[in-house]
Every structure is written in structure tokens, then in C-alpha cells.
């Protein structure tokens, strides 16, 4: 292990360094920007994100560690970092119009979005318990504030409280598990943990540690039965933040979970496989069934995102290269379709109209045919109907399950995705087949238009020609440390 930092570290950490500098610039620029020119802050934030993406891409070919082995610089991390930057960019694009309606100051908002992004990047790259924990908290604390950002709004307040209380609670559980892992292995470096624990997989304390870590992370990805915060938080948070939360936070937590399990705890694969098998089945089923009964679209999408967490967990259960690839593919696709769906919802927010009830979508087609078309694409994609990207994602996940021999998991998965179509299609029914609501027309700002166009185009293009994404995900998944070890333990 290298004993000190080198100049090389500065190069390897360039994405994080650029982002950190950028978020400070945004914070300072906010102080010197008049109220009339605040929309420039949005574009400045986009600029920071683009500047961050450049070194990420440049470094994506590496397979090394930085900062004395605290952070991995590999394809896996780069894939997720790009995903976060993308999700953050879409969030910023759909936020401006929303914030204007809410009359909220955008400066700190953009700063916090960038902070959360930084936390996510550390979560995806960390290969040390402490680093992962710090990344997680950087993200979580930013989100607590963002969720409650609309201070006069009581729903936003309540959402923040619920998210904060349950987030801190889950952190306690996760940390207790981590402390046991450290105690049993004597190190916080994941790759050394794996070596140290390889011989003591039947220790009771270790099993407890695995359960606690799994439970703590299950809170973060909103898997049943640790999901109860999600619907309330998703409903109460500002819509763009809900989008970012459901995509960025979930993807980052999955990345961290993969690092923890595959790099740190491969010896415990039989235990966590069983745990996540149960969580996956419960999440898919409960999420979908609960979503059917919702009249609020944000709540419905919250339950649907619980179900999606269940689908994605299939990848963890298999723990094969194909399974991990499938998770990467799915999370990327999910980012586009889920962000897109919330982008359309954010459009419906007008003064005096919250715009997130199912009936607010009535006749959207007649007012905004393009927005209705976009929403149709996102709903079909979330439901997994070709030729949209969602189908290709599910295809990978279920094929990974079958390859690994989890046929019943795949059966439950496909039946659930058939059920889910019921409520996705209901949204389409309201938009396309109900009478128009008496209300003012919503004009998408250029930012929203760009974001929705990108999301729709990506959802369709990946659905028709997924080969580039598949290859990228496959190459990225290969770089994840101990994946072959787990495979051999099957």
C-alpha cells in the first residue's frame, strides 16, 4: 500500500476535484448574482457537471486505486459517475421552471444538488468502509435539506422530517453492521476485509453484521420492508428532487451495495443471496400491488420505484457478471425513464395547482401532445414494453436470473411486470382518453424541453439499438473487484 499521496492522485481524483471546485463556485456565484439573473446559475451548474464528465470519461479506462487505496478508479465507478452527472444535469434542467413557480431561491439548491452528486460519486468509487460512509452521508444530508427545501410548504416539511428520521435511523443500523465487519476483520479496506473474512464465514457475529448492513442499505434503496419512507418523501419533496432522489440516490446505493457485497463480503454470498432474494420478491410484489391503488402520481411512481428496486435486486441475488451487467444497464435506463416521467410531472406544477394527482393529467394529450407522448414512452418503458429501453433492461435482468438458475425469481419478476402495466397504462388512459381539464396551458422552458427530449430519445434509442450500452455496461461490470470469486462460490 502506498504510504502517502502523490501527484498522480490529483489526476486520478480529478472528477471529484473539479466537482468540488465547481460547487464552491456555484455557492459563491449565488452571492453575487441578482435576483433577475439567477437563471444563469442553472447554466453554470450544467457547466460544472459537463466539466466533471470530461475527466470521468478520460479516466474510465483505468483500473487502479487512488488516495492510498480509499477510492477505486475503474470502469465500474466511471459508469456510475456518468450516470449521476447525467441525472444531476436533468434535475437541474427540470428544476428552474419549478423553482420559479415555487418562488424558491435556486443558489443553495443547485449547490446542494452538486453536493449530493459528489457524495454519490464517492459511494460508487469507495472501496473503504469509512469512505463509503462519508460518501453516503454527503449525499444523504444534502437530500435531507433538498427534500425540505420548500420551507413554507408543509408537505415538504413533513417529507424532510420523515426522510431525515428514517435516514439517520438506517445509518445507525448500517454503521453498527460496519463496525462489526471492522471488528471481525481488523481493517476497513474492502479488499482486505474480503481476504480476512474468507475463512470465518460461519461466525454468528459476521452473519449479524451482514444482516445489519443489508438492512441499512435496504433502507437506502427503498426495498420492502424498509420502504415506508419512500412514498411520503417522494410525494412531499419538490418534484425534481424526487426525480433525483429516486434515480441518483438509488443508483448510488446500489453501487455501494455492490462494492460492499462483492468486494468486501463475497465469503458471505450464501447469506446475503438469501436475504436479497426475499427482499427482491417482497419489493416487486408489494411495490406493484400498492402502486395500483394510488391516486397521486408521485406516490404511484414511488411505489413503482420500490418495485423497480426489487427487479434490480435480482442482479445482486445472482451476483454473476451477467447479473451485475444487468443492474448497470437497468440503472442507466431507469435514470432516463424515471427522470423523464418526473420531468413531465414537474411541468404540471403551476401556481395553485400541485399537479401530481392522476386527474391533473386528464387530457394532457390535447394540451401538450408532445409531453403526453413523452410520458407514454416513459410509462411503457417503466412497464417494460418494447421497443422502449425498459424492455431491454428487464430482459437483461431476467436472463441473468435464468442463467444463474433462479427461474422462479424470473417468473415472479415477469408476472410483476405484467401487473405493473395496469397502473402505468392508467396514466396513459388519463392523458389520452379523458376529457381535457379546464386549466391554463403549461409552457415547457427550453431546459425542460431539452431534458425531456434527451430522455425520450435515449429511452427509444436504447430500446431499439441497445448494443453500445450493453457493451459499456459489460466492460464496466468486469472491473468490479471480486466478482469472479463470488461466482466460484456458487
Amino acid at each position: 500500500m502506498p504510504t502517502g499521496y502523490s501527484a498522480n492522485d490529483l489526476v486520478l481524483l480529478l472528477p471529484e476535484i473539479v466537482l468540488t471546485t465547481g460547487l464552491l463556485v456555484v455557492l459563491v456565484a449565488d452571492l453575487f448574482t441578482g435576483r433577475s439573473r439567477q437563471h444563469w446559475l442553472g447554466w453554470l451548474t450544467i457547466g460544472v457537471l459537463v466539466a466533471t464528465a470530461v475527466p470521468i470519461v478520460a479516466l474510465s479506462g483505468h483500473a487502479t486505486t487512488a488516495a492510498r487505496g480509499l477510492l477505486a478508479v475503474d470502469g465500474f465507478g466511471a459508469f456510475f459517475k456518468l450516470l449521476f452527472v447525467l441525472a444531476a444535469a436533468i434535475t437541474v434542467l427540470i428544476s428552474r421552471q419549478y423553482l420559479e413557480v415555487e418562488q424558491a431561491r435556486p443558489g443553495e439548491y443547485y449547490f446542494l444538488v452538486l453536493c449530493a452528486t459528489l457524495g454519490m460519486m464517492v459511494m460508487a468509487a469507495g472501496i473503504d468502509l469509512i469512505t463509503l460512509f462519508i460518501g453516503l452521508e454527503t449525499m444523504a444530508v444534502s437530500f435531507y435539506v433538498l427534500t425540505g427545501f420548500l420551507r413554507p410548504n408543509r408537505r415538504s416539511n413533513e417529507a424532510a422530517i420523515k426522510y431525515f428520521v428514517l435516514g439517520a435511523f438506517s445509518l445507525g443500523i448500517l454503521l453498527y453492521g460496519m463496525s462489526l465487519v471492522y471488528g471481525l476483520s481488523g481493517t476497513t479496506r474492502l479488499r482486505e476485509v474480503a481476504v480476512a473474512l474468507a475463512t470465518q464465514s460461519d461466525s454468528l457475529a459476521l452473519k449479524l453484521a451482514v444482516v445489519l448492513v443489508a438492512a441499512g442499505m435496504a433502507f437506502k434503496i427503498a426495498a420492502v420492508p424498509f420502504h415506508m419512507w419512500a412514498p411520503d418523501v417522494y410525494e412531499g419533496a419538490p418534484t425534481p428532487i424526487t426525480a433525483f432522489l429516486s434515480v441518483g440516490s438509488k443508483a448510488a446505493s446500489f453501487a455501494m451495495l455492490l462494492r460492499l457485497l462483492l468486494e468486501g463480503l463475497p465469503a458471505m454470498a450464501p447469506e446475503w443471496r438469501g436475504l436479497f432474494y426475499v427482499l427482491a420478491v417482497l419489493s416487486m410484489t408489494v411495490g406493484n400491488i400498492a402502486a395500483i391503488t394510488q391516486g397521486n402520481v408521485k406516490r404511484m411512481l414511488a411505489y413503482s420505484s420500490i418495485a423497480h428496486a426489487g427487479y434490480i435486486l435480482i442482479g445482486i441475488v445472482t451476483a454473476t457478471p451477467r447479473g451485475v451487467t444487468a443492474m448497470l444497464v437497468y440503472l442507466m435506463i431507469y435514470a432516463f425513464m424515471q427522470m423523464g416521467a418526473f420531468g413531465v410531472l414537474a411541468l404540471l406544477r403551476r401556481r395553485d395547482v400541485v399537479g401530481d394527482e392522476l386527474k391533473d393529467l386528464s387530457g394532457l394529450f390535447f394540451r401538450r401532445p408532445l409531453a403526453a407522448f413523452a410520458m407514454l414512452v416513459f410509462m411503457l418503458s417503466l412497464g417494460g414494453i418494447p421497443p422502449t429501453a425498459g424492455f431491454m433492461g428487464k430482459f437483461w435482468l431476467f436472463s441473468a436470473a435464468i442463467e444463474a438458475g433462479y427461474v422462479w425469481l424470473a417468473v415472479i419478476g415477469v408476472l410483476n411486470s405484467a401487473i405493473s402495466l395496469y397502473y402505468y397504462v392508467r396514466v396513459v388512459v388519463f392523458m389520452w382518453m379523458r376529457e381535457e381539464l379546464e386549466s391554463a396551458s403549461v409552457h415547457p422552458s427550453p431546459g425542460v424541453a431539452v431534458a425531456l427530449t434527451v430522455a425520450v430519445a435515449a429511452t427509444i434509442i436504447i430500446g431499439v439499438y441497445p448494443a453500445p450500452l450493453f457493451e459499456l455496461a459489460e466492460a464496466s461490470a468486469k472491473t468490479l473487484g471480486m466478482a469472479p470469486r463470488v461466482l466460484s462460490l456458487r
Binding site: 411503457l380 414494453i385 418494447p386 421497443p387 424492455f391 430482459f395 431476467f398 436472463s399 435464468i402 442463467e403 427461474v407 424470473a410 417468473v411 415477469v414 408476472l415 411486470s417 405484467a418 402495466l421 395496469y422 397504462v425 388512459v429 389520452w432 382518453m433 439499438y465 441497445p466 448494443a467 450493453f470 457493451e471 459489460e474
Partner: protein, 560 residues
């Protein structure tokens, strides 16, 4: 494999309707007549583009024709792989012809949201053609699912009464079946990889591949769910009457004429040749369900008071007969089954058009609302008479040929089944004649019916091609049967080898890239590649014909 057209003909057929749909997106939604013209022109262009298939298809060659092959998702071995045999050529021609008719028949029937209507209709057309031309299983599945959405909208927006309920019922039913089918596809995919080390969704490879018997059984069930719901077979038929009743006329026509064929196409293209052992084992179950379907469909049809529902239940009965003929698993039964699929498309499609015409004029489908129409609408009554006779299988018209072949095939297998099936056909004649008698004969009792206008020129134009086809198949079915020789022969060679002497068998193409000896390639045992250890006798497919030709490189247009 070859491509006689030397240019991507199948892609042209496939994407012409889609191009029309995309063009329509850019037309102002208020210029409705322009939209109608564009839709009609593109539907007609699609039909014209498909005509070369009829002339250029080589009925003697057992190979897949008009093949196009391009890499699509190389990392999982999925390809953009199109190709046809005689069976799919006929279904494609049926699809493009019915597409023209459906688009033409909507000219005055659809007055709201015209633009979206035609967009969905054309997208649906692409989906259906895509399913018939795909030889890559994943590509097939993609098109198979693509069909759902436009059909859902057609029923849900332009349907009648309980359209939302019917639309979602149709959607979820078929979806549930197809997602299970996807698992079956994946099972074959992984099993094939385990045996050969090759990742592929190539259907032509799967058709030569002998899957483990136990796995075949499960995969057959998975496919069965997907296809049987689509056919629909009893007891999965309950979505059909609702969907048909509430769909707009063109939707019903497409649904009956083409969408239902997806199920039977799936059985013949995939279940039988890929899962021959399981197919044989499931014959009794399918025969029983089919027989129940034939009789039940006919009896329920007889009890209907709704004209369209009656035709819908007649579909259940007819499609059950198609299934019975297919699972006789002999050349006569299969050929009859395929011919009957065409017949059902023609006759039932026409019957739905016939209901649609009075529905457009009177906005009711109740049989009791109509009496004595023959005196007000003589041309209409004549057309109806013609199509009804075609549907009940009068000799000289198309229905007779198909039913005769099916009964011939079934009779060989079981005389009892044939007897019940024949009863079903008689019942079919009964409800159709009764319907005709109730609506066309007698005096006009309802004053609203007194001034009903007869068919106009456009409406006649929608029926003329159907009547010509009905007569053609009825009087001179030979060209159609010739088309089926090789494709039926290939299926029969796989699923019941004892018949394979009776038909020219499709010669399997021998792939160069497959590790030989792991499984048996029918017709591929050239002396050079002869396995050192002979395969177990149970696996040997009788090599049909004399000496198989050596493997030839693919001639494709797409390049590779």
C-alpha cells in the same frame, strides 16, 4: 439461404407502414383528408411492396428466402435476421392486404382524432409484419409486443361502450402470456449456449437443435401460454369477445384477420419445430381444448344477441378448428390449418366489415334492430351472403378447402375427434344461417332501417379483394398449397418424422460455426463432419432427401 430480390425487400415491406406513420406525425391534424390519403397510399404501397414475394418466392426451394442478416446486439448474439418461407409469405400477403382494407374501410368511420388513428394503425401494421418476418427470437418478441400498444389505443380511444375495460383486458391478457413466453425463449437461449457454446437467438438454429426433453416440456408450457392466449384457445378466450365487440371496425378486422394468426403462427414456427417431443406429448391436451373450443364457441355464438359478439365467438370456434388441424401433426392437417388461417382472415375480416357498415349507419349492433335488410340494401345482402357461405365452408369457396384438409388430417389421428369437429362445423353453419335469416330476410320492421343507403363504391372496393381471394382459394387452391409444401414438410419432419416421406422436406442449412457432434443437425451429417461417436438413436432425425448439399455461405443483402 438466399435473397432472390437482391435488395432488402423484407425491410422495405416492414418499414413502409412505419414510414407512413412517421410522415403523418408531421401533417397538421386538421387536414384530415390529406391524412387519410397518406395513410391509404402507404398501406397500398406496403401491399405492392409485398407482391414480389408471391412472384419471386421459389416454392421448390426449402431454404429461407429473402434473407437479411445484420448484427443487432452482438454481445448477446441477437441479430437483425429476417427471412420467409411459404407459410410466412402467405401471412405477410394477408397482412398487407388486410392492412389496405382496414385503412380504406376507416375513411368515414373514423371522424375524431384522425391523425392518431392512422398513426396507430400503420404502426400496428409494422409490428405484425415484423413478427412474421423475424427469424431472430428476440426480434420476433420485440415486434410481438410492439403490436400491443397501438391495438390498445385503437380499442381504447375509438372503441364503443366499454372500450377502456376491453382494451386493458386485451392488453393485460396478452401481456401476461407473452412475458411468460419470454422466459421460455430465454430457457432455450441458455440451453443452446450450454450445449454449443454459442450465444444466439437464431430461430433456424433452434429448429435444428434437440432440446432436453424435460426442458422442452416446460418451454412448451411457457410458449403455450403466450400463443394460446393470442389464438385464443379455450379457456383463454375471454378477452376476445370484449375486445372485438368494443374495437372499431378496422381494429376488429385486423384483430381477427391477422393478430389471432400470431398465436397459430407461433405454434407452427416455434413450438412444433423447436419442441417436437413436447408437442407430441401435448397433443391430447390441445386436442381436447380445441374440441371444447369448437363446440363451445359455436354454441355461445348461437346465443348472442349482439351481431359483433356473435362473429367474435365464431372466431373462437374457427380458431379452435385451426388448432385441432395443426396438432394432428401430419401434412394434411397442418396444410389445412394454415389454409384455414388464411380463410379465417378473409371471411371473418369480411364479416366484421359487414357489421361495421351497418354499425356506422345505425350505431347499434343488436341483431334484433335489423330485419329485412336485403330489401333496402341488396348489394350489401349479396356480399354478406357470399362471405357467410365462405365462412361456413360451402364447397367452391375457401372455407371448404381448409376444413376438408383439417378433417382429413384429424381423421387419420382420431375418428372421434374428426366427428366432433365436423359437428362443430355444422353448428357453425347453423348460427351463421340463422343470423343471416334474422337480419336480411323478412320485412323491415324498424323505420330507421327503411332509408339505409346501400354500399357505396369505396365500401364495395373493400370487399372485392376479399371475395376474389375467397373464390380463388375455393376453386384453385393449388398455388397456395404449393407455397406450403416445403414449410409444412420441414415442420412435419421435425415433429412427426414418420410422415416425412410424404412431403418435400426443407433442407437444413448447415452452419459452419457450430461445434458439431454436441447435437444432431438434421440433414447435416456430411461424411466429412460425421461424428466419431454416433449420437444416441433417439435423437436422430431422419435425414430427408438424398445427399444434402454442402454448406454454402450465406448470401445476404445486408452484408455481414
Amino acid at each position: 439461404m438466399n435473397n432472390a430480390a437482391h435488395f432488402p425487400l423484407l425491410s422495405l415491406i416492414l418499414f413502409t407502414p412505419l414510414a407512413g406513420a412517421i410522415l403523418l406525425l408531421f401533417v397538421n391534424k386538421r387536414s384530415e383528408n390529406a391524412i387519410r390519403w397518406i395513410a391509404n397510399i402507404f398501406a397500398a404501397a406496403g401491399f405492392l411492396a409485398s407482391l414480389p414475394l408471391w412472384f419471386w418466392y421459389d416454392t421448390k426451394s426449402p431454404a429461407w428466402q429473402f434473407v437479411e442478416k445484420l448484427p443487432w446486439i452482438p454481445s448477446i448474439g441477437a441479430q437483425y435476421f429476417l427471412g420467409v418461407d411459404g407459410f410466412s409469405v402467405l401471412l405477410i400477403l394477408l397482412t398487407t392486404m388486410m392492412g389496405v382494407i382496414a385503412v380504406l374501410s376507416s375513411w368515414t368511420a373514423i371522424t375524431t382524432r384522425v391523425k392518431e388513428y392512422y398513426v396507430f394503425l400503420l404502426v400496428l401494421q409494422t409490428g405484425m409484419i415484423g413478427a412474421f418476418v423475424s427469424l431472430d427470437f428476440l426480434l420476433f418478441f420485440l415486434f410481438w409486443e410492439v403490436m400491443l400498444v397501438p391495438m390498445y389505443f385503437l380499442i381504447g380511444i375509438w372503441g364503443s361502450d366499454r372500450r377502456l375495460y376491453s382494451a386493458i383486458k386485451f392488453f393485460l391478457y396478452t401481456l401476461a402470456g407473452s412475458v411468460v413466453m419470454l422466459l421460455g425463449i430465454l430457457a432455450i437461449y441458455f440451453s443452446y449456449h450450454t450445449m454449443t457454446g454459442v450465444w444466439t437467438f437464431d430461430v433456424t438454429e433452434f429448429q435444428r437443435f434437440n432440446l432436453d426433453r424435460n426442458l422442452q416440456w416446460w418451454v412448451f408450457l411457457a410458449f403455450f401460454l403466450g400463443f394460446a392466449i393470442k389464438v385464443p384457445m379455450f379457456p383463454f378466450h375471454t378477452w376476445l369477445p370484449d375486445a372485438h365487440t368494443d374495437a372499431p371496425t378496422a381494429g376488429s378486422v385486423i384483430l381477427a384477420a391477422v393478430l389471432l394468426k400470431m398465436g397459430t403462427y407461433g405454434f407452427i414456427r416455434f413450438s412444433l419445430p423447436i419442441l417436437p417431443d413436447a408437442s407430441r406429448e401435448f397433443v391430447p391436451m390441445i386436442a381436447v381444448l380445441s374440441i371444447i373450443g369448437i363446440v363451445y364457441g359455436a354454441l355461445v355464438a348461437m346465443a348472442q344477441r349482439d351481431w359483433k359478439r356473435l362473429v367474435a365467438y365464431s372466431s373462437v370456434s374457427h380458431m379452435a378448428l385451426v388448432m385441432l388441424g395443426m396438432f394432428a401433426l401430419n401434412p394434411a392437417g397442418l396444410k389445412g390449418s394454415i389454409i384455414q388461417q388464411l380463410n379465417h382472415g378473409i371471411s371473418t375480416g369480411a364479416l366484421f366489415l359487414i357489421v361495421g357498415i351497418v354499425y356506422e349507419r345505425r350505431h347499434t349492433r343488436m341483431i334484433s334492430e335489423y330485419t329485412g335488410l336485403s330489401s333496402v340494401m341488396p348489394v350489401y345482402a349479396a356480399v354478406f351472403m357470399f362471405m357467410m357461405l365462405s365462412s361456413i365452408g360451402l364447397p367452391g369457396l375457401n372455407g371448404f378447402v381448409g376444413e376438408f384438409l383439417i378433417l382429413q388430417g384429424v381423421f387419420v389421428v382420431s375418428k372421434a375427434w374428426a366427428a366432433v369437429a365436423a359437428t362443430g362445423i355444422v353448428l357453425g353453419a347453423a348460427y351463421m344461417l340463422w343470423l343471416y335469416q334474422r337480419t336480411m330476410f323478412g320485412t323491415v320492421e324498424n323505420p330507421k332501417n327503411e332509408k339505409l343507403p346501400d354500399l357505396n363504391l369505396r365500401e364495395v372496393a373493400t370487399f372485392v379483394p376479399l371475395m376474389i381471394m375467397a373464390l380463388w382459394i375455393g376453386l384453385y387452391p393449388k398455388p397456395f398449397l404449393d407455397f406450403l409444401d416445403t414449410s409444412v414438410g420441414a415442420v412435419v419432419a421435425r415433429v412427426s418424422p414418420q410422415y416425412s416421406g410424404q412431403a418435400v422436406t426443407k433442407q437444413a442449412d448447415c452452419p459452419e460455426n457450430v461445434a458439431v457432434n454436441k447435437f444432431v443437425l438434421a440433414g447435416c451429417e456430411t461424411p466429412a463432419a460425421a461424428p466419431a461417436a454416433p449420437p444416441p438413436p433417439g435423437n436422430v432425425q431422419p435425414a430427408p432427401g438424398s445427399t444434402p448439399p454442402p454448406a454454402t455461405p450465406l448470401k445476404t443483402t445486408g452484408g455481414q
